[in-house]
């Protein structure tokens, strides 16, 4: 049975579950992923609406991308076209959040590199991640 791993994209640095889970096929992984999304978003739907759970196979390919908004029960009252619009907005919002996060990291890395080159102190790590990653 193939192994699957999970990555939560919240727009503020991704969270990985690197401990793989065995499923018979992609359909099994999708059912599990839907449950995980429901558990993560329950009672905080508005906060997590822009998030996405990606599922990867053993080859490292993303086989499922599950936007939280697509399973959000608090959107069930919307007309289909309006719901589709909200889901699209959430998807774009995630992209924007990820771009902002990435840009901030680039600025921090640049500041750290400049400080390091001048022999000055710099923030070496944030949230357990190195400011200047190993290339």
């Amino acid at each position: 049975m193939p192994n699957y791993t999970f990555e939560l994209r919240d727009g503020h640095g991704d969270l990985d579950d690197e401990t793989s889970v065995l499923f018979a096929d992609n359909a099994g992984a999708l059912r599990y992923a839907r449950t995980v999304v429901q558990e993560l978003s329950r009672s905080r739907e508005a906060e997590t609406r822009t998030w996405r759970l990606d599922v990867y196979n053993e080859g490292g390919d993303c086989v499922i991308a599950l936007p939280f908004a697509s399973l959000d029960p608090t959107l069930d009252h919307l007309r289909p076209e309006l719901r589709a619009m909200v889901e699209k907005f959430c998807d774009r919002r995630l992209s924007v959040d990820e771009m902002i996060y990435s840009a901030r990291n680039t600025v921090r890395e640049s500041q750290a590199l400049v400080a390091k080159s001048r022999g000055k102190f710099y923030v070496a790590a944030r949230s357990g991640k190195r400011t200047i990653p190993d290339r």
Binding site: G13, D16, V36, S43, S127
Partner: protein, 273 residues
Amino acid sequence: MQTVELFPEGRVPVTLTGIAMIEPSGASRIRTLPEQASSARLLGNRLLAALPGDSFALLEPDFKDVVLPQGFVCFDPGDPVNQVYFPHSGMISCLVTTGDGEMVETSSVGREGAVGLQSGFGRRVSFTRALVQIAGKFTVLPAARLENAVSRSPALRDVILRYIETLWAEAQQNAACNAIHDGSARLCRWLLQCADKIGSDQLLLTQEFLAEMLGVRRTTVTLLAQELQKNGIVRYSRGRITILDRPALKAAACECYNAVKHDRPLGGTGMTI
């Protein structure tokens, strides 16, 4: 050192009088700890410390101090409650199990209380599975001895009744929490309660165990724990969670944490547990 035969699924008979240490080879051994001074027992378990002096004296000759490993089953649903467990440094979870093997925690007991106290009012069977969640030291008392002491000491009966009331309140709060609150807030509440109950900010817990306690998938717990770690609230490494920022963890926990804290005066006795 005393050895007992394990049940096929790794359970130790509930009539044990010592401890089961799981060794790397898989063999299990029961060991009782050397006799402790009364003061050590009183320091370790707050319910024992809250007992009136004469009640404690009635029970003390039958106490046995043991160390129980994580995963040790004190009772399963339907099992007779033959022993009472007073945690000193470990924690026991009371779990409701379903036919397909899923488990959800309804209450947990640490150094503030005991498991199996209902047996003080006569022969009882357990409604839940009582499982050692965090290994540690426990004082064990035969249920028949407790029943005997309760029949002779109204003060002891009163303390036990009041403790069972708080446990009942905790179970009700947990039921509401499981139904209403989000996974992240519940995880924070659970970590805080767990730390309070064992008296340490370092928790030896696997993700699988945590997932069972919260009634969610293991992946969900992993992602929630990583979210807390990213925010500098906890540090998680395989099987060990360290609370780094308690105020932030409290802020992230649901209101149930304050509702079920066991450091309030117990009824009109002025006793705290």
